[in-house]
Symmetry: C2
């Protein structure tokens, strides 16, 4: 392409020419050819990727060979390895699971060369991408010894994609699934999507929205799903669908969807058998039931256990799984919304089938810029709990704000729940280390769309990448991920990587500061969730209103979740409950999440809450200003398209950060009746102006037709 759109399509798989002569010479010396033992589609894909990368790095073809020559790269699955090699790697093999890999410089038949092996072809594919990543980062490849494997079994993207190609909470255009032209038209994007996911170890994708459409499990659509499954299979990726609980009524002809009704059970069994006839490795279902208006077993006086187990029984003969979402809350329940999922699910611990995973959002409300971890983590030792992160930035500035989410993910994963004593981290729980169940999983709600660079914001790619890396290994730290991604996506130059790593790592705290500092949450505007809306108090359900969450009054602000309030803290282990219950010891970042705090209460710095609130909002704005300044200095390292795009988007982010600051402070000032500190600039508009703003076509919502 000679025009300047399209940069960014290649994500972190850019394989740019290596122009440093020293590195190039060493690499070419250490990578003289490729010997692939085996002919599976997956190994062919690994070989093609190596060839593609080799051509990109060195602008020449990679030699293919069938001999053990000096310094070749040798790919073979364990069972085909020459016995001598296999034996020498025994210890390494003991460490990995079926998806793991070994990359090792070995000597065999007097030749030194690098082997990539594993127990399965997909393990080798993962190893191949890892090998390439080493080169992309200009690391030494002359004497590699890497043994790695994924710590979590089901590593999934969740697409909230509708059959009409709109994407709920999607900000990167529309759905990449072109259902209308499937199964015939296989877009190159499907293949590159699979490559990208395989390169970071994602092994499953839920194609459809959790607010589900029963049509997708009809034969007309299953034919289309099968076409995608066929594309993804050799990349180690299984497809999953969302099941609409009322499907037996809507797309069958039953009068009920009662999960204990034999006809209903039979209907699902037959439907599911039909699916598996077409897609033998179909992954299973993700279900949002009795949540936000979705149908579910409660409609028939049955429990979540009844519903989940019914589906689980139907997919079990095919080794399918059911991911049942714990995201439930009821407008009829006066209990604090933050408590409801726990109250509903914890009593069922131990009653779900072995092939059921309960999918729990990272926090107890809904993907806010910052939440404490969900109290269900650790509270159901006899149930498989999987993590649901949101990669799409529903509450974090859509696709126009630069926010590096691995920092958020890491914060949750590293959190100590104390449920089995110290060091009972959330990560350990979802890795299954503290549970009696052996099925493990993690899901990320995708930020992928038809945007030419997949994610809209060029830095949205980092969140897809980072989710994948943490799903593979929750212990990787976010700084490593930031550096890796920056190098793969832009350049290895230190003058770029170092300041940009700092920028990424700071970006999540910035958004917390300019949107919801000090534990504030859910104060965005309604419906589209775009911009501030702390004043909203007129929605149909109490717990949909921001005022429900901040409870600002003349005395103070914040949600009392201690024993004197909703007592949501009682859902956490004792050490947390105790620490967070006291105003003196609760981390200030969670202050207003757990406490209703007087405006003039003095925080650790000796200043009032009001002062600190203003300070945090201002700090958030200034952090974005710093991002703008830093990015402006990066022009020489970045292609024009991405440079200007990020520059324009940062302008939006800065404008909106100020909007959040001004709207929220003006609003809360009505209650605090205190003056704004001098460091806060005069707000550009009045509170009335901010309250009057309307955005009928904000993306990510179902259009209200004109």
């Amino acid at each position: 392409m000679n025009s300047f759109s399209g940069t960014g399509y290649d994500l972190w798989l850019q394989y740019n020419k290596i122009s440093n002569q020293e590195i190039k010479t060493t690499y070419v010396k250490n990578f003289t050819g490729m010997y692939i033992l085996g002919t599976s589609p997956t190994l062919k894909i690994a070989g093609d990727e190596l060839k593609r990368a080799y051509k990109g790095f060195f602008e020449k073809q990679l030699n293919e060979t069938n001999d053990f020559n000096e310094n070749i790269l040798f790919l073979s699955v364990r069972e085909n390895l020459p016995k001598e090699i296999s034996a020498s790697l025994q210890e390494n093999f003991n460490k990995i699971n079926s998806e793991g890999f070994i990359i090792k410089k070995i000597k065999y038949k007097n030749q030194n060369f690098t082997v990539i092996t594993g127990k399965t072809d997909v393990g080798i594919l993962y190893g191949t991408f890892r090998y390439l990543r080493e080169m992309q980062q200009h690391n030494d490849i002359s004497n590699l010894h890497i043994v790695d494997f994924p710590k979590i079994q089901k590593r999934l993207l969740n697409h909230w994609d509708n059959l009409d190609r709109t994407v709920e909470r999607g900000y990167a255009g529309f759905s990449i699934w072109d259902w209308f032209l499937l199964p015939e038209l296989i877009k190159p994007e499907y293949i590159d999507y699979a490559r990208a996911n395989a390169s970071i170890g994602i092994n499953g994708t839920v194609l459809t929205n959790v607010n589900a459409n029963s049509l997708v499990i009809t034969p007309h659509y299953i034919e289309k799903v099968k076409a995608l499954a066929d594309v993804f299979r050799p990349y180690g990726i299984q497809v999953y669908l969302t099941a609409r609980f009322s499907a037996p009524i809507e797309s069958g002809d039953l009068k009920t969807a009662d999960p204990l009704d034999p006809e209903v059970r039979n209907w699902w069994k037959n439907r599911i058998n039909e699916i598996y006839k077409e897609i033998p490795d179909f992954g299973g279902f993700l279900v949002k039931a009795n949540s936000e208006g979705q149908p579910g077993p409660n409609n028939y006086g049955r429990t979540h256990v009844d519903g989940a187990n019914m589906l689980a029984d139907a997919v079990a003969p095919h080794h399918g799984i059911v991911m049942w979402r714990a995201f439930v809350y009821s407008e009829h329940d006066p209990e604090d919304r933050a408590k409801q999922a726990y109250s509903e699910f914890v009593p069922f611990d131990g009653q779900f089938r072995d092939n059921v995973l309960i999918q729990v959002k990272n926090g107890p409300i809904d993907f806010q810029p910052r939440e404490p971890f969900h109290p269900m983590f650790g509270a159901m030792p006899n149930t498989s709990l999987m993590m649901e992160f949101q990669i799409t930035q529903e509450y974090l500035g859509f696709s126009s704000h630069l926010v590096f989410l691995p920092k958020l993910f890491e914060e949750t994963l590293d959190q100590d729940t104390y449920v089995q004593g110290e060091n009972s981290t959330v990560a350990k729980i979802i890795e299954g280390a503290l549970s009696n169940k052996k099925l493990t999983g993690i899901a990320g709600v995708a930020n992928i769309g038809t945007a030419k660079n997949w994610t809209g914001h060029p830095f949205g790619q980092a969140n897809w990448y980072g989710f994948g890396r943490l799903a593979w290994d929750p212990s990787i730290d976010s700084k490593t991920i930031a550096e890796e991604w920056l190098k793969l996506t832009f350049t290895n130059k230190e003058e770029f990587v170092e300041p940009m790593t700092n920028l990424l790592l700071q970006s999540r705290e910035a958004v917390v500061n300019y949107m919801t500092p000090l534990g504030l949450h859910h104060i965005m505007n309604s419906g589209h969730h775009y911009g501030p809306g702390p004043w909203v108090d007129n929605l149909g359900r109490p717990e949909w209103n921001p005022v429900y969450y901040h409870k600002a009054d003349s005395i103070g602000v914040g949600f009392d979740r201690t024993a004197s309030g909703s007592n949501a803290l009682s859902q956490y282990a004792k050490p947390i409950e105790k620490k967070y219950s006291s105003l003196g010891t609760v981390p200030e970042k969670y202050l207003l999440w757990f406490h209703h705090v007087p405006w003039d209460y003095k925080l650790k710095n000796g200043k009032t809450l009001w002062y600190n609130l203003a300070f945090k909002y201002q700090e958030g704005v200034e952090e974005v200003e710093e991002m703008v300044t830093t990015w402006d200095k990066m022009e020489r390292f970045v292609d024009k398209e991405r440079f200007f795009k990020v520059q324009m988007l940062l302008k939006i982010q800065l404008k909106e950060a100020k909007w959040w600051r001004d709207a929220c402070l003006l609003y809360f000032q009505q209650f605090s009746q205190m003056e704004l500190p001098k460091f806060i600039p005069e707000p550009e508009y009045s509170l009335e102006h901010y309250k009057s703003l309307e955005f009928p076509y904000a993306p990510g919502t179902r259009p209200s037709w004109n």
Copy 2:
């Protein structure tokens, strides 16, 4: 990009490396540098395009100079030309209008070089693209003498794009206008869209759907429209919007939108003045009024003249125009729908303001695969009529069928209306040659979307290109356009261009044959217009039902529009009326458009209508089979992405051609009660099956939310 998506983004502006050494040598000799006299943004764009192309063709930088050196390319507007040059080109200048250009090898100060000049900078930009097109086609550039100018003044794309980014009748993804991120985010696509349009001479774009939303003329959106206008301006492209007639009520606070109400007139005047404050060269409005539920002057007992002139008066001080669509028909009017626009508008001839264009679809129904020309053409000599073609393939297979539309456009443009004697072609009418009005225009309903190649089907680009070329000069023949486009878009190789030109030229007749042969029309399925639906008879308005149009019964099929029927033929000039009225002389391609013909009526070939109908359907299918075969042979000339994509799409086209054939023949057989000729294969399914098919999420319609 090293992965294989994105090919096609560059449209016909690919500037591929010229590897033929002889051509390259001659070109480099004849194009030694560039001298641009002037610094306007438009001239800078011309220079940038030359540099970009030079680098593509020759893989080196184009020299820039400020001297008249041998064999340079010299760009200057007439008023800046050295007097001697200007004088020598006087005769050429006399031939062109303000948008025309001259490309000529001249001698000046003893140096031979090529000049590109015109009366305006935009003329030079058009000349630049023309010069590059010569090179792209490997034509001789050593002694150029080209004088060219557009024959029609307003050459517009109409985008039926909604503010929520859905596109009515759009099949290439979603709207390229990312309203939400405007005005801050200027996507590279906006610039490349402008380049592409300027390269074929399109000078205006209506950004929004004719089913209009009054929000777009509010300040919040005008700020966004202004950002696009600022991008497009230096490319010679004006922006236009659609006006919703009821806007004074919806986005103002008036109680009426009566065009004769002084308050209403004032409201529009003020609103329009506000728009021009932001966008001084705003083009004006396209209006769909009192059509298919849209509000209009009739709601207030006023006429189309009242409505159009009211808006025309408001934009006139700013040199704006109003394009008022003639696409009106009423369910309360028992008159043949084909007659209604004529009956409604012709009596108003001479009453519209000078800055009003009446925008008339090419045929009297609605963008069918084939229609006779609209009888309004020629019937309003004292009114400016503009042509509305549809580039998006609403009724021609969406973006999955390969149909080369310039063949259709040409058929209409070349048609003789006889209104002022022989050779009163439709082209002459829209060029203004037969009218007393001097404002001329042509519009194409765009097939552009977020698809990475803009149009979804790689060959959809040919229809955008071809529309632009014919808008520039309606006399260019479709074969020339096909050859040009193929060379620019794929390769100059004769073994590719020749068979593919034949394929393109045949493709339109193929779709007529497999969908609506022999003058059949409007027998598609309802709502989404996807696939056959001749049986549909239950829609709310009589003239929405296919049965209204084909009138099949036990005697025959077809719509009697002669004097014995609706007498729509009386709206045409006498020679046409006479010729088309007789079964013996009516062109068979219009047979069932104008006549109800007995099933056993013998056509010119001596076979029955029934036989011929079957023959045509089968011929259409076989023509697609031939397209499949031809394309398969083109693999060596085409990049992988486009080759496989077209191959997959042709499979869809063939499947659907058979579907049309089988469903229509089975349906009509119920009436003819005649056996299918032996050359028709056994239909794959029963008529009941075809009737039962549903496609709730077919593209191009407003989604019906689940």
